[in-house]
């Protein structure tokens, strides 16, 4: 068994893909990517907000309206005819006064036009208010009751708690995701890859008990998942902090108690075995590494769904949900990070993951005994 494990670990350690996925992607690539995306998004909204657009105005040469539009960074163009079915070139919205109504034409399929419409709405709202005020003043009425009270929000959360709540949302999510991803490559390589290279048959002809071969593979993949996931998460977090203001929580310190980290790792162990068994099973079923990859893609999609669901803040983690595989660990991480440990949830999740790990490992063992599966053609 030790020799089998040695073989598995040596292979994994030498595998550039696994090393790349563990160190290069989360430490360098993803943060850079996220920073870039953040920068693009920020730039996009900034230019949006500042940019001036032209709006057509018909029948409405009211100086109050025109200046209100200008205040919203809109350039009014006085025209003498309403548009037909579409907006004229370079004009993003169109105001037409008719009796006591102002018709605002805009293109709902155009994002810019929609934004311009919102600005027009603001401007007109202000005009309406000003008109009201001036009419009231003319008759000598007090206008202060038009705005009976002001609203001012006061945020009680400390920066740390703000950061933790954001963190809870992504950290639990990342951890579960990386437990899936961390061992994936190793799992497919040691199964489908070995089939392809025909090393698997050499191993099966040599090792007296077939079970030992599978157990070594599942163990090796589990340890890889278990060890690489926290490293990848850490890499991501450091990277995000590095990425600076582009990212939502930069500049704020967040503290996770060591106890929470310990509990998270403890819970990761049975889950890693569950995931590793599943991945080894898929790899054993596939005829080649490539085929295995095509099976894994939809699996990842299916896995991401419950993980995302679990990280949503408005879903509460309650009793029977500890039985839902994948979802339960995501929800449990989330709860740990947000509110601290709820022992009944934690133990329930731990035990159900232990059970799922056992069931999945048993299934993988069974699959491996079936030669029509392992030697499919």
């Amino acid at each position: 068994m030790r020799a089998l494990l040695l073989k598995e670990y040596l292979e994994i350690l030498r595998d550039r893909r696994t090393l790349f996925n563990t160190f290069v992607l989360p430490f360098l690539f993803y943060p850079a990517f996220l920073a870039f995306m953040g920068w693009v998004a920020r730039k996009g909204t900034e230019t949006y907000q500042k940019k001036t657009y032209a709006v057509g105005v018909v029948n409405l040469a009211d100086s109050l309206v025109l200046s209100a539009l200008r205040q919203e960074n809109l350039v009014p163009r006085i025209l003498d005819q309403a548009p037909g079915d579409s907006l004229p070139q370079a004009i993003k919205a169109f105001l037409v006064a008719r009796d006591d109504t102002v018709l605002v034409y805009y293109d709902g399929a155009d994002e810019v036009s929609r934004a311009v419409w919102r600005r027009v709405e603001h401007a007109l709202e202000r005009v309406r208010h000003q008109r009201l005020v001036s009419v009231l003043q003319e008759v000598g009425l007090d206008t202060s009751w038009l705005v009976p009270f002001q609203v001012k929000p006061v945020n009680l959360a400390t920066e740390e708690r703000m950061a933790s709540s954001t963190l809870a949302q992504i950290l639990g999510y990342l951890m579960v995701l990386f437990l899936f991803v961390g061992g994936m490559n190793a799992a497919l390589d040691t199964t489908a890859g070995e089939k392809e290279r025909r090393t698997l048959e050499v191993l099966l002809a040599l090792v007296p008990r077939r079970r030992d071969v599978v157990v070594a593979k599942v163990l090796a993949v589990s340890t890889v998942s278990f060890l690489t996931a926290p490293v990848m998460v850490l890499g991501m977090l450091l990277g995000m902090a590095q990425a600076g203001e582009a990212f939502l929580m930069a500049g704020k310190t967040f503290v996770i108690p060591w106890g929470t980290i310990g509990l998270m790792l403890l819970l990761s162990a049975p889950f890693a075995v569950f995931v590793a068994s599943l991945e080894v099973a898929i790899g054993s079923f596939a005829r080649s590494f490539r085929e295995a990859q095509t099976y894994v893609a939809p699996l990842m999609m299916m896995a991401v769904f419950p993980i995302v669901l679990a990280s949503l803040p408005f879903l509460t983690f309650t009793g029977w949900q500890v039985l839902l595989p994948v979802y339960n660990i995501g929800a449990c991480f989330n709860e740990l990070l947000r509110e601290g440990v709820v022992w009944s949830h934690y133990l329930g999740t731990f035990l159900s993951n232990l059970a799922y790990a056992g069931i999945m490992a048993g299934f993988t063992l069974y699959l491996f005994q079936r030669e029509d599966i392992v030697f499919r053609q």
């Binding site: 040695l6 040596l10 292979e11 030498r14 290279r197 025909r198 050499v202 090792v207 030669e371």
Partner: protein, 250 residues
């Protein structure tokens, strides 16, 4: 002393969605003695690999029996595995391991103790000229070097029964010769060697007896000399084709 390998009436079929049921092995029987090289000679798809995989306990037959050194390989595969070594032709090495690591790991899996393993590795690597590349990952080696490493693995384990699937596939002449000499030497040490090939010359050079396999059946089983006599042909390829025709006629 029990015979090295006894194969009786093996059957193995696969189910293929497109082709339906395929009788890859259709009633094969033969025996091979210690100190003998037995070659399964046949065209593509004849059932060579499937037969050897069954002998190596990798696949289970639908019917029939296999004895390895008197051990029933179907009832006690664990025991049989201790008596045989398997080499799947042009592949079967780990690209991220070095020849030395692979041989060490497989030697340990076979249960060799550390000093014996070290001594034998040294010896075999010297004999096969592998010392220079012993520490290079096999992914970076040539086909021939990889094949030699795979043969070294078998040689270091040196089981009583050697099973090799097309051991010279894709090799140049000098490397083929090194592999062949290793097998001849194993035979001289009393090992039972079973190999498959589709190359007539190789069967003639190596094998004491040849089983010509076609469509999962052994159509002729004899020494090369007798096969020549039977077909009345001299040139090897003519002998081979004549034997396959015999099957078609039958």
């Amino acid at each position: 002393m029990p015979p090295g390998v006894v194969v009786r009436n093996l059957h193995k079929s696969f189910y293929d969605r497109k082709r339906g049921r395929i009788h890859a092995v259709n009633g094969i029987s033969f025996e091979a003695q210690p100190g003998e090289i037995f070659a399964l000679l046949g065209p593509n798809g004849a059932g060579k690999t499937t037969t050897l995989r069954i002998l190596a306990t990798v696949l289970r037959p639908d019917e029939g029996s296999v004895e390895i050194q008197g051990v029933d390989a179907l009832r006690s595969p664990e025991q049989a595995r201790r008596l045989l070594g398997y080499h799947p032709g042009d592949a079967g090495v780990y690209h991220r391991l070095t020849p030395r690591e692979m041989v060490q790991i497989f030697g340990r899996l076979r249960g060799l103790d550390a000093p014996t393993l070290r001594r034998r590795t040294q010896e075999v690597f010297e004999r096969l000229g592998l010392e220079d590349i012993a520490h290079r990952p096999m992914g970076k080696l040539s086909t021939g070097q990889r094949q030699k490493a795979a043969v070294a693995r078998l040689w270091v384990m040196d089981p009583p029964v050697w099973i090799l699937d097309e051991p010279a596939l894709g090799l140049d002449l000098p490397t083929t010769r090194v592999v062949e000499d290793t097998l001849l030497e194993a035979r001289n040490r009393g090992r039972t060697v079973i190999l498959s090939t589709h190359i007539m010359e190789q069967a003639e050079y190596l094998a004491d007896r040849i089983g010509v396999i076609h469509h999962g059946k052994i159509v002729a089983l004899d020494t090369m000399e007798n096969l020549r006599r039977r077909t009345g042909k001299q040139r090897l390829r003519e002998v081979f084709l004549a034997l396959l025709d015999l099957e078609a006629a039958a």
